[in-house]
């Protein structure tokens, strides 16, 4: 076993949730990988096999992350953050587009294609945690500039790809972390209002399809506006809605959903962005709520970990990861159900996609790491006695808050 790592019952619960979601993911990626053909001679694509491969890689990475103490990672968070930024810049120049999506989001690494923005989320969480745990300047309005800048940099690069959905995920993460790190709510509200104003100014600079998607969401039921909008997105929304609805209470049965099997939900988004529609169709309201419940359980466990861990960096990592996974799950499912505009966000652990699986598993590995390593004293602190001394003497952030 890894030295110093002692898994708690809550960690086992978390791992069970992860395993269940991964299993459900593989099952539905398999179901969604069916391509109907003439005369009923359909076939399955290789995506479930690739998904299993990626899960394997993800588990290796999971264990690898567990071998490193999160405090080491926090020490080197700035390096990781810089590497992540470098990769994002690289993507802009050397990135490749996928067959389906005309955006440069991927890097070819040997036989694999990775999406640096997925990993950048984690690096940003680490960097934020690193920054916020050492200071309480963010309790001032001007002090919010540094953490927001830390987030704005990768966001800007990701928007350039373009991948608006991915970029927007950074926002709830940073707000959750700032909030947990005792930033003043009123400052956060000011920031939100300011950003909304900026967003309004940025509207003319959005890509056409991005505008259309947002319009498509706003004018979903206005027939005149519909005609002007991208037909594919509307079609996807419509088919997803039919798929979800036709699942009724208990679903049409795994591998039996007609919208899925008969290709009504477009094949290219069926196993990633819209996999929740397939789950709803084949497992019904009950099954969909089981999936949502698993996410919620995962988040509750994360909350427990955050509450019980006293290391300020560790708990911020947990909050960040939980906010990331939770927001993605909510945005993805709400999008499939037609409550939010279509953004290309995966359903963590379930959707097909190597980088998404990998980053979600690594993120959860960080949570387990924080949870299981908490009582061990570390060499890392010894390596930087100054920081250790500072941390030992400094009061915990919330304590200062309570005192004041």
């Amino acid at each position: 076993m890894i030295r110093g790592l002692r898994l708690q019952p809550r960690d086992w619960l978390l791992l069970a949730c992860v395993a269940a979601l991964l299993a459900i993911g593989v099952a539905f990626v398999y179901s969604a990988s069916y391509r109907s053909g003439p005369m009923g001679e359909g076939y399955y694509t290789s995506s479930p096999a690739k998904q299993v491969q990626w899960i394997g890689i993800g588990l290796v990475a999971f264990v690898a992350v567990l071998t490193l103490n999160y405090r080491h990672l926090l020490e080197h968070a700035n390096v990781l953050y810089a590497i992540g930024l470098g990769l994002l810049v690289l993507v802009l120049f050397l990135g490749v587009t996928s067959e389906e999506i005309h955006a440069r989001r991927w890097l070819n690494v040997g036989p694999f294609r990775v999406q640096p923005s997925e990993f950048m989320k984690l690096f940003t969480i680490l960097a934020l945690a690193r920054y916020l745990m050492d200071t309480d300047s963010h309790r001032r309005l001007s002090g919010l500039l540094v953490p927001l800048g830390l987030v704005a940099l990768p966001m800007a690069l990701i928007v350039r790809e373009p991948d608006l959905g991915m970029a927007l995920v950074f926002l709830p993460v940073v707000f959750a972390m700032l909030y947990a790190a005792a930033a003043r709510p009123r400052h956060l509200v000011i920031v939100v209002v300011a950003m909304a104003a900026l967003g309004a100014l940025a509207w003319p600079h959005l890509r056409d399809y991005q505008k259309e998607r947002i319009l498509g969401f706003v004018f979903q039921d206005d027939s005149r506006a519909r005609q002007e909008l991208r037909r594919l997105d509307l079609y996807q929304l419509e088919q997803a809605k039919v798929a979800i609805g036709s699942g009724q209470l208990f679903g049409q049965g795994w591998m039996k959903g007609s919208q899925n099997r008969l290709n009504f939900i477009p094949a290219k988004t069926r196993n990633n962005d819209f996999i929740f529609a397939v789950i709803c169709e084949e497992w019904g309201f009950v099954g969909a709520n089981v999936v949502l419940g698993l996410y919620l359980l995962m988040l509750i466990v994360c909350g427990r970990v955050a509450e019980e861990v006293h290391h300020p960096g560790g708990r911020l990592i947990v909050v960040g990861v939980a906010a990331m996974l939770g927001t993605q799950a909510i945005v993805n499912t709400a999008m499939a159900a037609g409550q939010l505009p279509i953004v290309g966000l995966t359903l963590p652990l379930v959707s097909y996609g190597g980088s998404s699986i990998l980053s979600s598993l690594i993120g959860l590995a960080l949570v387990v790491n924080v949870s299981a390593y908490r009582r061990v004293s570390l060499a890392g602190d010894v390596l930087d006695p100054e920081a250790q001394a500072r941390r030992d003497t400094a009061p915990m952030p919330e304590e200062t808050f309570m005192r004041s």
Partner: protein, 692 residues
């Protein structure tokens, strides 16, 4: 503090999940049934499955008409160059049409006009001026009548022109079909990606040209179809008929069910029989459509067959026509205008029904007949030709006189009676019935009819022999002819019947009109001892399941004829052909070009010539009769229309009869007395020739 904040974040996230779950509850539980219903319907498609139309076959089973693969040229509107520019204004027209429920968009007319950008095709729609509002779009204009005009984009017009040159269909017809197809798209009955047929039955070579250069003709493709094929081209074309696309009136009548069968109902592109047996037995020949309920995927590819009703091919119709005899008869008629009917007197089976001029049913769709053609090639003269009968009617007078025992033993012909001249023999001459019939003396029969029989008896016997009535043969549009009676004349002209008209009738002139088939039937009655058979054209109908049906023959009335008296008539008819002085004697005797008939064939022919005058036109030449005379197997009726007034019709008609009878297949003559004798003589001759 920290605990509070993490919990707040958790509660916030929980709110998100709750929001999604609420939405799911609404979609899946509240509206679930609706969506399930929709999802189940959207992937189910019912398609029609086709089977081929029944074949038409001759007596020996040879194919006379059958379905073979053919090629249509279709257009997929969505693949046309500039199709959006082409379709948008039209789709808008139809969208408006649907919404505002104004007069339906129809009457597509393609006109070539020179516009500001040079000559091009414009399509005008016969729609009300309501559409003027649409003139905002650049492609919809209106002309002076307020109809909407759509300019066909240049690229599309170029492709249509190219295809038009290949398939030899005018570009405007192709465009008309295309816009009719777009109308279906506009009404939401078809998708722009569904092909619509623009040229039918284009032939193999044009189809191959298009199919092998598809990229040169964007949007066009070749679709397989069934085309009706008549392997002998014009053989028996009037009897067989042809097929054509169903007319809109017929479609309106039968688009729900046809003859009580829903499976045989018509779709707008279906073919329906026209003329002949194709029309008369269209219902039997027509295949019953099957249906397949399929589960389809989003591209409408079949995934599963949920249920299916197989189509039933149409029934095969076996005709009584003998292909060889029919060919012989048609060859004999070549160059004449008229018809030849050959009938089996015992059964009424029609062995041949030849008409001239003919038409080629295979070419008909591409080369429709000229309606102004005075020879009327589409007319089935054997059942639709109205002709005066002429002296062949004397047979009826003779039979009537004999049966009524009113035949004068001897009369003197002085060259005319009641103003009707007799120029058929030297005058004056004393004649009995046999002589008069043989020489076709007008005076004898006029006087007998007028003085001995009277018009009432005459009409009674003519009606008994079926003149003036349809024969009930299984063919559409049969004409009944006209048997004039005093009552008819009163009703028609408000005039009394004159004695001269009785005379006219007695020699088959005047108001009397007959069809060749009626004459064949009346001769069959004379030949078979008085049974007025119903001419039979359809031998049997073999259904797809193997069940064999025959058409109801009805009751054949038997005429009260005395065999000995009938024998006298037969004898006269024989003498017409084989005794010196008979009107057809010269045709059957030995001459420079032909041998003696009896020596060659071993049997005698019974016949009667007839030349019927028509006012203003040349005469009708008849040669009617049966063969062999002593054992009738075939009744023949040769009718020829002459343009030249000086022709004595029978002189042309009788040789045609001989040419047909010479080629009468042996199977019709089995057991004819004298026939074996001839065979034996022939054999002996052949042996003798072989010996040295």
């Amino acid at each position: 503090m920290f605990r509070f904040r993490t919990r707040a974040i958790l509660i916030f996230l929980f709110g998100g999940f709750l929001m999604v779950a609420t939405r799911l509850f609404y979609l899946q539980v509240v509206l679930g049934a609706h969506y399930r219903d929709y999802a189940e319907n959207v992937c189910v498609e019912t398609r029609a499955t086709e089977a081929s139309r029944g074949t038409l076959r001759g007596a020996a089973g040879e194919l006379l008409a059958f379905d073979e693969p053919g090629f249509n040229v279709a257009v997929v509107p969505a693949e046309l160059p500039d199709w959006r520019a082409l379709c948008r204004p039209i789709l808008k027209l139809y969208a408006l049409d649907r919404r505002e429920r104004i007069a339906s968009v129809r009457d597509v007319a393609v006109v070539v006009r020179s516009g500001p950008h040079g000559d091009g095709y414009e399509v005008s729609f016969g729609v009300a001026a309501t559409f003027l509002r649409l003139s905002g779009t650049e492609l919809v204009e209106r002309d002076e009548h307020g109809t909407a005009l759509v300019v066909v984009p240049r690229k599309t017009a170029a492709v249509v022109d190219a295809v038009s040159a290949i398939v030899r269909v005018p570009a405007r017809e192709i465009l008309t079909e295309l816009f009719n197809g777009l109308a279906l798209v506009g009404r939401g009955w078809q998708r722009p990606s569904d092909p619509c047929v623009v040229a039918r039955d284009v032939g193999f070579l044009p189809a191959a040209e298009i199919e092998s250069n598809l990229e040169s003709y964007p949007g066009f493709r070749v679709a397989a179809t069934a085309r009706r094929s008549y392997p002998y081209d014009s053989l028996a074309s009037h009897v067989l008929g042809y097929v054509q696309r169903v007319s809109s009136a017929e479609y309106d009548r039968w688009h729900e069910s046809y003859g009580g069968s829903k499976a045989k109902r018509f779709l707008p592109d279906d073919l329906i029989g026209r003329n002949g047996v194709e029309r008369a037995l269209d219902f039997e020949l027509r295949a019953a459509r099957g249906t397949q309920t399929l589960e389809v995927d989003v591209a409408r590819r079949t995934q599963r067959v949920l249920s299916s009703v197989p189509p039933v091919p149409g029934a095969d119709v076996y005709l009584t026509l003998d292909r060889d005899l029919q060919t012989t008869a048609e060859m004999a008629l070549e160059g004449h205008v008229g018809s030849i009917v050959l009938l089996e007197p015992a059964t009424g089976r029609i062995l041949a029904m030849a008409n001239s001029p003919r038409y080629n049913a295979n070419e008909l769709p591409r080369r429709p007949p000229d309606p102004s053609d005075r020879t009327a090639p589409m007319l089935n003269r054997a059942i639709q030709g109205h002709y005066p009968l002429g002296s062949a009617f004397k047979l009826i007078v003779a039979v009537a006189a004999l049966e009524e025992n009113k035949a004068p033993a001897q009369l003197e012909c002085t060259g005319g009676y009641l103003g009707l001249r007799c120029e058929n023999h030297s005058v004056p001459m004393h004649l009995n019935l046999e002589d008069a019939l043989k020489r076709s003396c007008n005076s004898y029969f006029c006087r007998t009819a007028h003085e001995a029989l009277g018009i009432r008896n005459l009409v009674k016997w003519a009606a008994l022999f079926g003149l003036g009535q349809c024969t009930g043969v299984c063919l559409p549009s049969e004409q009944s002819g006209l048997l004039p009676t005093p009552g008819w004349k009163r009703a028609r002209f408000r005039e009394n019947w004159y004695a001269g008209e009785t005379c006219n009738l007695a020699v088959g002139q005047g108001y009397l009109l007959v069809t060749p088939l009626q004459v064949a039937r009346f001769l069959a009655a004379i030949a078979n001892g008085g049974r007025l058979v119903r001419p039979k054209l359809v031998d049997k109908i073999v259904r797809a399941d193997g069940k064999v049906e025959t058409l109801d023959e009805g009751v054949c009335p038997t005429l009260p004829l005395t065999p000995s008296k009938l024998e006298r008539i037969h004898r006269v008819m024989r003498s017409v052909c084989h005794e010196i002085g008979g009107t057809a004697w010269k045709v059957f005797r030995r001459s420079e070009t032909q041998g003696d008939w009896v020596q060659e064939q071993g049997y005698q022919v019974a016949g009667k010539t007839s030349t019927a005058q028509r006012t203003g036109r040349g005469p009708i030449g008849w040669f009617v009769g049966f063969a062999p005379a002593n054992d009738p197997r075939v009744v023949f009726v040769v009718t020829l229309e002459h343009d030249d007034r000086n022709v004595h019709g029978a002189e042309v008609a009788a040789p045609l009869a001989r040419r047909v009878l010479e080629r009468l297949p042996e199977r019709y003559l089995e057991g004819v007395p004298g026939r074996e004798l001839r065979e034996r003589t022939r054999q002996r001759l052949a042996e003798r020739r072989a010996e040295p």
